[in-house]
Amino acid sequence: MSWSVLSYGVVSPGGMGVDALSRPWLPTATQSADGTRRHTTFLVDREAPDLKRSQREPRLRRASPLSSYLLEAARQALEAAPGVDRKKTGVVASLFLGCLVYSIRFYRQLTEDGRRFASPLLFPETVFNSPLSHVVTTLGLGGPVYSQVGDTSSWATALRTADCWLTNGSAEHVLVLGAEEFEPHALDAFHAAGFFRKPTAVSEGAGALLLSREGPGVALMGVADGYAFHSRNAANGAATRCLRNFSEEIPILDTAVGWTRTIKIPPDRPVVENLVANPCLAGTAAFAWDTILAAEILKNSATPKSLVIPYWGHTHQCAAAHLARP
């Protein structure tokens, strides 16, 4: 595997573009839906002009925040690579939480008002693949299209899907997207799941990586995916098995947040401190950002020439990717 990383796109609480990942973000204290506690959150400005412009598209007037995050991140990546033939570009999105805002709104409405009064306009926007359908339509992409769900580490699965399409020739280029939208019920769910036993800020946004069969610069060299753990105690073993797929000399970028900070990287392996200014739990978006930052490190620094980026999932599995500068 050697697929060129052509460009990126970022929607984050710090704003649009990769530079926003290195700026300190403004934290807010957000109340959980049950009203019993507050947690630190970093939230995207949903009124930002770059996001609002998507709502001028007739089809996107009612679309979820998730749709606008995905669209903006994808648009940035494509605009940074103007030579790309969009008709030969596939797109795969990985989602940990999915269409949370509209799903909860729809369910609350039918619960409180009665099923007979559920909104037929809202329901289609609760479906996992609606946001990506909006992206494909708006940007005119003609390659294969998958919405994928799962653990936070499903970002790695999306990278493998891109690899499959590029290997088979199903697409000349693939946009790999990771995106999450925040809704206060997520705080209740994360609390119930024990994510806050270690102090963890929660965030939202999107990241896009445009991969190509050919091109200069940093390349995706490999993905190791599917090292499952059934308890947090077993996660160390899964991580160790995962890292065995990569040469011991390749430095590992520290991407752990929250409870995954307890996963130990073998002591004989070099570790590069992540330069992300705002460590946070942002599902697949966070792993997209980590991958983009790793590509930036490789592009702009003499060393290292190669990095392994771990994607320690919060609920299911460990995965990792290998980026290198030729």
Partner: protein, 401 residues
Amino acid sequence: MISRVAVTGLGCVTALGGDVSATWEGLLAGRTARGPITAIPVGGCRVTEGAQADLTDWPGYTQRELGRFSRASRLALPAVREALAGAGLLDAEGRCVLDRLEMVVSTTACGMEKGEGFLKSVWAGDFREQPARVARYQAQQQIAEIQRHFGFDGPATMIANACAGGGNAIGHALDLLRAGEVGPVLAGGYEALCELVFTGFDSMQSLAPEACRPFDVNRNGLMLGEGAAFLVLEREESARSRGARVLGYVAGYGSTTDTGHLTQPAQDGGPLEQAVRTALEQAGLSPSRVGYLNAHGTGTPLNDGAEAAVLARVFGGGPTRISSTKAALGHTLGAAGAIEAILTLQALQTGCLPPQIHLQTPEPVIADMLAGMDEQVSIEAAMSVNLGFGGSNAALLFLRA
């Protein structure tokens, strides 16, 4: 030279039965699983009937333990067991003989009733069951339960391309094997009835108030159902070398996205036709070689109209027989493509065709192509097609072993 991709294991749970043979027998007998929905609350909906599956007990688990599983897991586990056993991948203790087994799975609602229960508990300030509900909701939790129960791990791709996802899952498994994946791949889908989705379709007035009538000019909606289906796919040489019985081949896959509307197909079905023709091209077959086609055929006016137009254009005048099994099994959303792939393979293997039930006045453009009761033909190739929200289309082409 790319190896042929063989199917070596099939397993399903549907509202007509708890395995492939019971489902198949029910279909050929012309039965429908339509009945009152009791598994989820549907009071206040315009339609309160659908195709609800019976959950079976699971060896080694108490009722209390079974109650902790999501309905989705209760449907998926027996289907996985049947598929792995058929492929010869289970040992005497019912554990998978492989340490790592790639999975590609489709769902649209995961373990949704657990998520719904979580939300209600938050609104009620009831914290007792919250961790368990959160832990059983998301799609990766059903995958984890499958992996834990059968004792394997490995990559798991969960495709959520709405009602085409099951077809996409099998197609992606084919793509992975063609791209170099060496071991077998367990591909399929699962879907359990849940309040949010049932009410959603009811709110759109998409549910048939009476019998679901795919490809009938008086069709008036779909019947929601539930179920799970899994297939074991592997390279032919892998299957032959371990002595597995080859049940058929996956020879072509086409997927397209219809960008016209979020929930309605293009009236002429252009993007679906493109998916169908891609699958045929991959297999190197002309339409006249396809003996049976399991149509998406939801029973909604727009879907069946567009689909019938495509099927008439591509297969009209040829020998292809067509039926939609959703009139019998219901529309199982993320599981539909996988269930229907199994039924397509059954038709290939046996030559028996699932009849188009509930047909009174057939859609004229394909009236002479719809399969009736007790049809038996010898066919070498068969196809399954699916459409979904978001414009997802998938077409799979299978060859007889």
